[in-house]
Symmetry: C2
Subunit: 374 residues, 2 copies
């Protein structure tokens, strides 16, 4: 045996954040990037190419020991073509589909006896689900994209017409809050979860996470882990996965799956003995999984999200103020251009005083993005 | 302001371990390496050249915002030449000399009123210090090299003849144990220490560290920090520095200084909110220093040291056993060829049960190096 090469399709910030644990463990990464300027490609060996060029992807993959993904926007045919060459691909095509196809995912949850919202396939006519409801593109959705709140039949019909194919309808839940749990599973079936995470959203984008979820009962924590482990086993997961869950009173309802390192697990870089990025590498390499214990009472993560501004795109100067104000703040730059609504970095702060942590993290991300001046 | 480039002279494992925090903070590194195969050069942008080619070093440095070092084996003239071009160099030549010249260091400690062992310059004749004693090369020593135990006059005279220049003699201390403390200081004079570290040596090589030092009294902990801060200020340190100290009863005696990230601070990568490598970058960039708090009751670090063996140089296969046995073990590979006596990696384990941590770390490094099979 010698140190392996992990091929990653995609070269955004999730690939970027795989680099430090790969360096530590002596694992080589090879990214398949759209451009050398991408977040991960700036700092790691990569091949530039198009995912529509199957031959180029297969040629690149032939130099890797295992292939994995950092986003869902990959044609299922490409994953199958990779598998057909005999190269190891994790997650497998048959698992990854539950991250890519929201209809297949709902059916799988039903099969596993896990809690779905009310849902139906929709091809026209009057839906069974009451308005207002949630309509989703079956594939191509990602990080809140392809998800719509629909108030009445005419809105639904015009949305359906614009999408031009079957869509998924789900009941609009009046949930108390949203949580996520990260789970890892290896080819041998070893699995591990981290503590569940509160995901705070604004306009459908996650702005802050709090781990563990404050005031989540022990019973619900255990149930969350149980759901994540059941799904991981049920879809034969290899790698890490985020399970997004709505909490409605004592009920947990599965919202989405993402079979990759996920924004709701970024806290684990500093907050856990083993980060989601190291764990993903360990899982796809069939290495034993690492300890997922927390290193502090709370880990609060905040996303730095671009705003409309005339100010210069300077994400370095803010260090002078922020590092002096919060000596424990950990900053992660994705080195992407600051554009409105785009995640360009995140910060994490560990500690025991949750109100203080949340307010410091909010301040830090707003100061970094330029939303506030002091 | 925009994201700066830090130039590092040297491309060994210390440069390698600066890479992850540089990635997080969006800082570019540029290493001046002897070869592309060196530990740090394998994973970071670098220029290959010889330190004896001053022109090449100055040309490389002109593309960096600040220059720093990862080892002491740099001609003082080269550092002065860099400073003469106006580029920022940290630590400064006038500080770095106390890391390079053991005689200048002893004189400086005396000037600062800090505790030296008995010492003298030696150019021949009968020494004032009693045998057995310690003899040191004044410059060129590094990690225990250039340090000799001398039993009698004839040994001393032949050593002196073989070195061919003035040497430094020091009393052989019957110390209780050796500790080290890391300290960081910025150009503005902000300074921060980490908890002192017990350094366990075998044949003059550090094999394991324990942080904080078990059973070191509060008074001695405070005195250790005070000594480190006094030296940092007294030599106008910029960057991080290790202060190695002998503990003799209630007395602390300064042994050596190393003005760079140091083996006795590796525990801080996982064990502290801010690692020595991140802190070094922050200091040389004149950014506010980070929190140096511990994240666990104890952090135990063990060096993976090459042994004489017929077995293959496989540092990856051991992961299968070690990661299953110690899910919290953090492995750092330097990706250097395994040679007898050479540090090729280290592992760190955090926790509260010190005996368990020390025995797991010992087992892990011996299993990695091939010294034990199970």
């Amino acid at each position: 045996m010698s140190f392996p090469t992990v091929g990653v399709i995609g070269a955004g910030q999730l690939a970027r954040m795989m680099v430090p644990p790969a360096i530590d463990l002596g694992i080589s990464l090879s990214l398949f990037a759209g451009a050398s300027s991408e977040s991960g490609a700036q700092i790691a060996p990569h091949t530039v190419g198009s995912l529509s060029n199957t031959g180029a992807v297969l040629e690149w993959a032939s130099h890797c020991d295992v292939i994995t993904f950092e986003h869902e926007l990959i044609a299922p045919e490409l994953i199958l073509a990779l598998e057909a060459t005999g190269v190891k691909v994790f997650p497998k095509a048959s698992s990854f589909t539950f991250s890519q196809n929201k209809l297949a995912m709902r059916k799988k949850m039903e099969e596993l006896g896990l809690p779905n919202p009310s849902w139906q396939e929709y091809d026209g006519g009057t839906p069974e689900i009451e308005f207002p409801l949630i309509a989703k593109s079956i594939s191509g959705g990602y990080d809140g994209r392809g998800v719509f709140k629909v108030n009445d039949l005419s809105e639904l019909q015009s949305l359906h017409a614009s999408i031009g194919q079957t869509i998924l309808l789900e009941e609009l839940l009046n949930f108390d809050y949203e949580i996520a749990i990260m789970v890892a599973r290896s080819p041998q079936g070893q699995a591990a979860t981290w503590a569940p995470t509160l995901t705070v959203q604004r306009d459908g984008i996650c702005t802050q996470t709090v781990t563990p979820v404050p005031e989540l009962s022990k019973a619900l924590v255990a149930k969350t882990a149980q759901i994540a482990l059941l799904i991981a086993q049920g879809i034969d997961l290899v790698g890490v996965m985020a399970v997004e869950i709505f909490v409605v009173g004592d009920h947990l309802i599965v919202n989405e799956l993402a079979l990759r390192p996920h924004n709701s697990g970024h806290w684990s870089i500093e907050g856990s003995v083993t980060s989601q990025f190291e764990q993903h590498l360990r899982a796809v390499l069939d290495l034993p999984l690492g300890d997922t214990a927390l290193l502090a009472p709370y880990a609060v993560m905040g996303n730095v999200i671009g705003i409309e501004t005339d100010k210069s795109n300077d994400l370095y100067r803010p260090y002078l103020h922020l590092m002096a104000r919060s000596p424990g703040l950990k900053v992660h730059q994705y080195m992407k251009e600051l554009r409105p609504g785009r995640k360009v970095g995140h910060v994490t702060l560990l500690g025991a005083d949750l109100l203080h942590l949340r307010s410091e993290v909010s301040h830090a991300v707003d100061y970094l993005s330029g939303a506030i001046d002091e």
